[in-house]
């Protein structure tokens, strides 16, 4: 008797590109993005879903891509950090991260940007408290969050 399928062909949109891929059924979305598609901007910082370094957008919503299997993204639209800047032009949020020194090692940064981008799309002028709530699922070990919060608030005000 045949066992459960060990792999499956999925079809999804990643950063505006339509992709069809035969993936092992057990592969995490984050490893599919990193190892199969080479989108290494999405990072892995824990094995328990706590750190948020792997945050991407799934149909516009921020999700932790280590908490999803790649097959669960079948038919979805995924945006990773590589999909933020258009034609090399950084978004206002990416520019604010640079201007406000909101990153040091840069390892949590992609996840922070994805969480904060999702916030700004729903709430264009968030307060400091709004920002802290939105990024509470993202751990940063370098900055104490001070300049990250400042950068997101500033990007919201368009300054």
């Amino acid at each position: 008797m045949a066992g459960p399928a060990r792999s499956r062909t999925i079809s999804l949109d990643v950063n505006g590109e339509q992709i069809e891929y035969d993936v092992p059924a057990r592969r995490l979305l984050v490893h599919f993005l990193r190892d199969d598609l080479g989108l290494t901007g999405t990072h892995v910082g824990c094995d328990t879903g706590n750190c948020g370094a792997c945050t991407v957008h799934l149909n516009g919503e921020p999700v932790k891509s280590c908490m999803l299997l790649a097959v669960q993204a079948d038919g979805a639209g995924i945006t990773t950090v590589e999909g933020l800047a258009q034609d090399g032009e950084l978004t206002a949020l990416q520019q604010a991260f640079n201007a406000h020194h909101a990153l040091q090692c840069g390892y949590c940064t992609p996840g922070m940007l994805m969480s904060a981008t999702a916030l700004l799309s729903k709430n264009p002028s968030p307060s400091e408290e709004d920002v802290r709530i939105a990024i509470q699922g993202n751990i940063c070990r370098c900055t104490g969050y001070v300049n990250i919060v400042e950068a997101v608030v500033a990007a919201g005000k368009g300054t």
């Binding site: 990193r34 990072h43 910082g45 590589e82 990153l103 802290r132 709530i133 370098c142 900055t143």
Partner: protein, 819 residues
Amino acid sequence: MTTVTDQATTTLKKGFVGQSIPRKEDKRLVQGLGTFFDDVRRHGMGYVHFVRSPYGHAKIVSIDVSKALELDGVYGTITGDEVAIQTDPFFEMSVEPGGNIKDYALAVGRVRHMGEPVAAVCAATRELARDAADMVEVEYDALPVLTDSEEAFKDEVVLHDDAGSNVVWSGVFDWGDVDQALAEADHVVKIERLHFHRFSSTPLECAGALVEYDRGTGEWTLTCNHQMPGVGAIWMAPALRVGIDKLRFVTHDIGGGFGNKICLHPQYVVLCLMARKLARPVQWTEWRTDQHTANAHGNERTFLDVEVAVKADGEMTGFKVRALDDCGAFPRYEPLGCIIWAQVTPGLYAWRNIRVDFTQVCTNKSPVSPNRGYSRMQHLWLTERIIDVVASELGFDPVELRKKNYVKTEQMPYETPNGCVYDSGDYAAALDLALELIDHGSIEARRKDAEARGKLLGFGIGSTLDSGTNNFGQSTLLNPDLQFSGNNEAAAVKLDIFGEVVVTLGTVPQGQGHETTAAQVVADILGCTPDQVNVRRGHDTWFNSHAGFSGTYASQFAFTGLGAVKGAAELLRDEMVKLAAFVLQAPEEAIELAEGFARIKDGPEEAALPFMALGAIVNANNAFLPPDFNPTLNHRYVCRPYFGMVDTEKKTGQLTLTYATQIHAAVVEVDPETGVVDLVDYAAVDDCGVRINPQIVEGQVHGATAHAIGAALSEEFVYDEEGTLLTSNFYDYHVPHALDMPPLKTGAMESPSPVAPLGAKGMGEGGGGGIHCICAAIQDALASAGKAIVYDSCNPPHRVWSMLQDPEATRANVSVTSR
């Protein structure tokens, strides 16, 4: 909020040095275009997973890898038996008994801590490697477990038979005459036991490496995130029985280090053996749980029998203490922590009589490694606890007691009782600035307001020093046979064919912004902009721009790293001037480098050579240069600070060169029902001399403070009696999230270092001040609820609640004898 007080005139602020220019690194990192080691792929690469001990202490009866090897896609395995044949134990720094410990890359015959690697499996995918590791059958025979350093000290159970004792190193440091000071004191305050807990800064990127072996040359290339490759190679090469030239370390972007990526040599040696055995590239990325259980904890230290000599007016003349340090199952970087604390022997205080009876022991816990504030933080926590316990027991004001006992700014440079020289600083002024930021005058009113809401308000100060630029000669105070002394760092600066300024560093940054600050320094020297300076990312042994102690650790980039950059840039500048003078037929004194040109000062417009012309002449169009003039426009410089030798008899010497100051102040509110501590106000003042890039300095202050807040209130590696780590992931080991952080106020002062090349001091490790001030603030908050003494550096709600329930249990630790 930043308040800046200039303590002295700095002369370097005309150029780019001193400006908060945005970082050069950021553009790639905000686009996800950084390169971290796990981003690098090779054809045919295998993934390695370690089989780890579930026991805290056990004999290995047998290891059977056959079922793992039967799986399709498994490339091979390595066990401790193979490691014992193919490698030698790592070099140990201690004298006997610790020096006799045998530490191999994998467990040989016995495991000594939960998570210790006993075998490694390599397979075609990450998932398969993990599956296969689960199929390795290891039979263990459990042994009694030691998780307490005071128990370990009794040697009833011994971890390392070769050593015959759990003691790694012990020694007495005795400066001045503490017995006389205690005899002449008006009050002697005794504290029986204080405990500095086990935690680590847990960088978000775990450890790992991609290792390739070249069978033709016998060389390994490690694309990795080691933060101290120079010393890593010193450990690895003899163990692998090769010359150091066979190891090429390459780093790109690194996702945080904080010292936790210094002791990676055991895992890296396994990877080297695996790559050679399988003749294929192999890659290992540590899992978070493995990082917590088996990589790098900070040193745990218990202080026993503290006695402090206090005069009637509050002047303290010294103290004595027994310090018991727990380094976990293997010493690795230890016993260096047994001496590093001595860089800050009297803390910020003018205490002249100090005796520290220091012992380090092994226990069945993860090995330690340097962790931000390494060893000094533990000792400075002791000095700050002493101040606040003395203040509380004798009724002194903690602010005034500090100011009375601080080393005064007019005493700078100040030589400590053990021969270290505090180079500059004004501790009292920094404290005043912190008090101003936190509105100290309103504390009593706020206390009343909190009381009305049923909360206990407390205020505390944490004074701390960040000693930077180690003298490795201090290791000889532990083991006179060690052949280490001084320090060094290298950099290379060249002008390339189209006029590109290219800088290569020996350092291994992990977020400190070296590309930016090095470019600022070079731009000022060569007369161009930081944008025109290409500072290469990361370290590569093949760049030949490193030195024996290369790395990024111990708060030294501002001195040795930038000192090397400055030295190399000045050599290049001098040669560019000489070349321009030759080409323009002008005296050298008439040449200036400015705006990307070498030109005759106040000369006609055409008397100017763009950098491109200079680069092209030397590299591609040089036939007209005379034989006795051979510019290279490519210069390497090694910054080698002068320390002198240490005195191994008296245990004195200049152990480090610069001393940055940080004064932290906290206001907490404690909920007496739950023991929950809420940080309601916080200020951190930093004085690191000349700030090359103030925004980067402030970022370091923020980050170090966050580490301290986490350590003080929640982060703790807790073991049960069987040696099982109970906090092995980010669920149980709670690091601060965005909502946990209080609003941070920062202040800055600049007391330039008279000894550092740019007047700048290393400064990334001052965060310990946060632990000190939170402990002090909690103690102050509990003063009206039974006057408990804060005895542990970590105070999560359950510990605070216990102190509220039974303050006398903590007070029994403390006694005062007055004459």
